[in-house]
Structures are given as C-alpha cells and as structure tokens.
Amino acid sequence: MEKTPENVSQQAAAAEAPLKLLGSWASSYTHRVQLALRLKGLEFEYAEEDLGNKSDELLRLNPVYKKVPVLVHGGRSLPESVVILQYLDDAWPHIRPLLPSDPFDRALARFWCHFADDKLGPAVGAVFASTGSEQEAAVRQVHENLALIEAELREGAFKGRRFFGGDEVGILDVVLGCGSYWLAVFEEVMDGVRLVDADAFPLFHAWLRGFEALDEARDTIPPVDRLLGYARGVRHMLLGLAGAGDGAAAPTAAAEATAPVPAPAATDIAVDI
C-alpha cells in the first residue's frame, strides 16, 4: 500500500484506538492473542467470558462462531486467533513483527500455523476425548504430526533455529506454544499416555522449554495446577457423556448436553493446539 501522508496519519490514529480482548482464561487461542499483545507491548483491556454463559457482547461481536478470542480495536471486532495475530502485524508493522518479511518465509509460517490448527490440534483433542484403542490411534496421529514438525526443526525449514521465528519468537511460536502446554498436562491427567517424549522429539521438546521460559509466556500461560484442575474436569465430563466411548462424538455430545455449571461447552475447550 502506498504510504501517502494521509493514510500514514490515518494508520497512526487507528493505532492509538483502544484495544479490548474478549477471552477465556483456559483458552489457548486467547493466550495466543494475549502473548502477541504483550510481545508488541500493546496495552489492552481484557474481558473474561464465561463460556457456559456467553455475554451478549460476544454473541454480537462474533455471530459466526460465537467463540473467544475476539479482539476489538477502535470499535471494530475481529475473531479467529491466527487472523488476529496477522492483524496485529498489519496494524503495527513497525513494532516487533510476528511474521517474517520474506514472502516465502511468510508462506511457510502460515502453512505451519494451519497445520497446527487443522492437524495437530484436533489430533490432541481426539486423544483427550477418547479411550482404549481409539485413543491409541489418536496418540499415534499426534506422534506422526509431531514427527513432521521435528523433521522441519532437524533438517527442514526451521533447521538450527532457537525458535520457529528465528532468534526471536514469531507467529508460529505463538500458535504452537500456546497450546503445547496441554501436552504435558494431558499426560499427567491420562495415566500412561505419552504425547511429547523428549527422546522421540528432542528438538520440539527443547523449543517448548525455551518458549515456556520466556517472560511474556510465563505472564500469559496459567499455572500448571490450574490447567490440571481444568483438564481433569473436562476429561471427566467428556468420558461421562461419551459413555461407551465413541470418542469422535464426545465433544459434540458434550456441547449439546446441559453442562454442569461452570464447565464450558466442549467445543470451546481449547484442548487443541
């Protein structure tokens, strides 16, 4: 876009407008946006949503999905975490970019963000919602997905990097990082399930430790004991509603059932990465 004096000042004015984030404390998608805002050093107002009793504001601002997170900037609302992250870069291009500058590197970052949300996330969710042989199959799927990422770290697009973004965290670190903490939490909740083995996925493991050590990540990711309590509750509810264990159906069933307060609908549970 051409930087005429007029649109530079429009952008500057827009950048000054207040930011508000509607989110949920246990939603990894919400964490992505909180983390990105912190990395960019942007002030924002945060509004916690009770996903079992969604506010009129949320339903109005995200009529398509009725989900968190939703970012409101200068009166305009944006849902979908990966869309929001790219918006933050477009609206504040000079502050700590989340996407690389080269078009091909950007394409790679976007591809892997989609992989995280379309493949890895649902696979992890499936592990959490199932038992027995179904769960074993889901665990294998998670391992296959992690192996692909491990391969990129070892010899592919992200070879030799400290973070997916390079020396600094970028969009893919934020997307994968805010959600990967569930891997260890789920392992704890479900005895005998190994999701992210340090021996099988040494580079992914090392990256995750590095990510979780960042100040901004520590400020954003809830304490492990809170996550554990939450996960135990969800697991209990999913298994209770699934009955004999049609794993794939459980999240939908949970969403339709009258969930005991304050358990959120399963479709909102950010169990996917």
Binding site: V64, V83, I84, P103
Partner: protein, 228 residues
C-alpha cells in the same frame, strides 16, 4: 527477472482455480502441470509430502502449498493489482471470510449434496445460514466484488460459491436455494465468472458436470465415513 512459475493442479479443483486466478490477475505466466489424482506423480508427492494435495506452486526452488497460502504468496511476491485490501482491518476480514469458506462452509455443503435424511436436512439449513452470512457481507460492501471495484483475495477464495456450487447442485439434483434467494451472491457469481482473467481458468462446465455425476456414488460413500 523472476524464476519460472509452475503450478501443479488437477481438473475441476476450485483450490487450483484460486491459484490460477491469482496468477492471471497479476499477469504472471505459468506452466500448469495437470495431475491424475487417482495416480499422483512423484513430483506432487515430493512437493507436498504432508498433504499430497493440489495446488502446489513451484517458483524457482520454492514450493508453496495450500491455496490460501499460495494466494498471499502471489500477492506479496509479484507486481500487479493488489489482491488483499490495503486497510489492516479489511485484510483481516478477507482472511476471516476465506477461512470461514474453507472451514465452516465446505463440510455442510458436501453433506447437503451427498447425504440423506436428517443429516442432509440439518446440513442444508446450515449451508443456507452460511450463504446468508456471505450475502450480508456482499451487500454491506455495496460494490461489485468482495474486493471492491475489482476482484480480490476473497472473491477468488469464494470461487466455489461462484461456479462450483451450481454445477454440484445440478449433478446431485439438490437445490439449496430458490432463484429469488441470495440475489447479491447470484449477481456477484455472474460478474466473477464472466471476468476476462477468470473465465479462461474455470473448468468447462459440461465436463465438470459430467465429472460430478460420474463420481456421485463415491461422494455419497465419502460423507458416510467417520471424520478423518
């Protein structure tokens, strides 16, 4: 001088059309390599080992997979009219609606066409709701296209609505909406499919219809299968 561009595609794929449309609008010459998806080539399997799908853009030694990722890559790499809007919020909403089309619209539409009974009924209801969202977006903009006065990223992303929807409905003998419904989308579809840059990369309608009719049993079986 930019290295040559090749596009691995397949007949009838709306995702492949997206990539072709973008290249044509930017005036970028490219070689189209057509795949037989029942018998995928070494090149395709090597270029997109993770998903093994088309389209795949080959630009010099770079490989870009996934149609929406390819659209942005084309927009950012080549000169020519911008595909995404300039305003950050409008860019984001274009991305949002493209994601909506791929993630929320696709499955209910397929179920509307190829399932039966209660599932089909529910899916048709959901598909119409989805179309209503897009109709609303088009009306709000008060322009010829989602992208404004000229075709942009979201128009290209929505190509399935413009062309494939009609063909597939005809092949399945299922009609989602009456002739009166969604007038803005109908007008837009007409504008999009008759555009000089777009027309040449739309698959022949008769051939496409034949393709969908021939494969209908396969699609009906596919929607019965449990989610992958």
């Amino acid at each position: 001088m930019s290295p040559p561009v090749k596009l691995i595609g397949a007949f009838g794929s709306p995702a492949v059309h997206r990539a072709e449309a973008a290249l044509r609008l930017k005036g970028v010459p490219y070689e189209l390599i057509l795949e037989d998806l029942e018998n995928k080539s070494e090149l395709l399997l090597k270029s997109n080992p993770i998903h093994k799908k088309v389209p795949v853009l080959l630009h010099g030694d770079r490989t870009v997979c996934e149609s929406l990722v390819i659209l942005e890559y084309i927009d950012e790499t080549f000169d020519g009219p911008p595909l995404l809007p300039a305003d950050p919020y409008d860019r984001s909403m274009a991305r949002f609606w493209a994601h909506f089309i791929d993630h929320k619209c696709a499955k209910p539409f397929m179920l509307s066409m190829w399932s039966e009974g209660e599932t089909q009924k529910e899916s048709m209801k959901e598909s119409k709701e989805n179309l209503a969202f897009l109709e609303e977006q088009l009306i709000k903009r008060k322009k010829r296209f989602f992208g404004g006065d000229s075709i942009g990223y979201l128009d290209i992303a929505a190509c399935g609505m413009a062309y494939w929807l009609g063909v597939i409905q005809e092949s399945a003998g299922v009609s989602l909406a009456s002739g009166e419904e969604f007038p803005a989308l109908r007008r837009w579809a007409e504008e999009y499919t008759s555009d000089e840059a777009i027309k040449p990369c739309l698959p022949d309608r008769d051939k496409l219809l034949t393709h969908y009719v021939a494969n209908i049993d396969k699609y009906r079986l596919m929607v019965k299968a449990p989610p992958a």
